[in-house]
Subunit: 167 residues, 2 copies
DNA sequence: CTGAATTTTCAGAACATTTTGAAAGTTGAA
DNA sequence: TTCAACTTTCAAAATGTTCTGAAAATTCAG
């Protein structure tokens, strides 16, 4: 396979992955492009490579910077901004976990806590309370698991954690 | 809080969670409704409670059955079909992991394998190969971790696994 | 069989998200 | 300052997704 073909396929795949993840396609494609680019790219270059508009490029680069997946890099003597991706894969994963946890898990935990104060003792209410309690248990576990992952470093993850998992 | 208010909030929250998950809002709401319902509900009842159309109800119930999150239940003497949700939360989670892994992870793994045969020895190709290799490592780990989770039972998960995690 | 009850399908409508591009805003070298 | 280079914003357009409702298909009691 040609290098260029490989790169294109990767950008497509990463984009699709993103879209199954609440990350928008273009944002993921920009990320992919920067990931496999040897040197920092300007907004202009990103626009041209991915064939997207200026506004679109700007928005998504901004979002990637918010997520901590991309950094701005200024070249001395150049007015333009250049961008590089975080290339340490473990960091990339941590950053993504942080965002997804915030968006997916935390709001649910808030509602569950809120809901736990349903009064009444009807059998119906009991059943409801049971389901909520059960979900709550898993939500708490998931929360602390992810929290631990986010705080851990790669060696611990790839070494200790996965060894424990697989035994 | 009133029971009904709690139920409504839960259905809303579960719907929102779903939509951050590639599960569509209505599908998640139908699931929520069935989860907290004491007895099986008919399509009719689901339509009325959630104020959705017949077609919509049908589609999403079908999808939930595909995922293994909802079961059809026939009452003797009744022509109508009734539906119940899988209420064992650990099972629910397993079923969701299975689907998400299939949709999110597996296609990427396929592309990564495909892409690994990029020829060329330019420094550019080297860099590309490095990034892909790195992602591949994590993808494999994630795959086997999820595979193990799916095969494990609840006690192992809540007991052993999480204790190891937190230590 | 027949036909009423029920489920399924699907084209178009409604809604939601993403993208564009032009205009407004910002920046810094001269 | 000034002004060209560059970045940001945002309303409208394009695209993508979900939902509706009526029609077609299926099912089964009589």
């Amino acid at each position: 396979m040609e290098l260029q073909e490989g790169k294109d396929k990767f950008i497509q795949a990463w984009g699709t992955l993103g879209s199954h993840w609440g990350i928008n396609r273009t944002m993921a494609q920009v990320h992919a492009l920067l990931l496999i680019s040897e040197n920092p790219l300007s907004a202009e270059e990103i626009m041209e490579t991915l064939k997207i508009s200026r506004g679109n490029a700007n928005m998504n680069i901004r979002a990637l910077i918010d997520w901590g997946l991309v950094f701005k890099e200024l070249k001395p003597g150049e007015r333009k901004e250049f961008f590089v991706a975080e290339k340490e894969m473990w960091e990339v994963i941590r950053k993504i976990i942080i965002q997804r946890k915030k968006k997916e898990l935390e709001p649910v935990i808030r509602v569950l806590n809120d809901i736990s104060n349903v009064e009444q003792n009807s059998p119906e209410a009991q059943e409801f309370a049971r389901v909520i309690e059960d979900i709550n248990l898993f939500a708490q576990k998931a929360d602390s698991t992810l929290e631990a992952l986010v705080k851990s470093d790669q060696n611990w993850f790839v070494g200790t954690f996965l060894k424990n998992m697989m035994k």
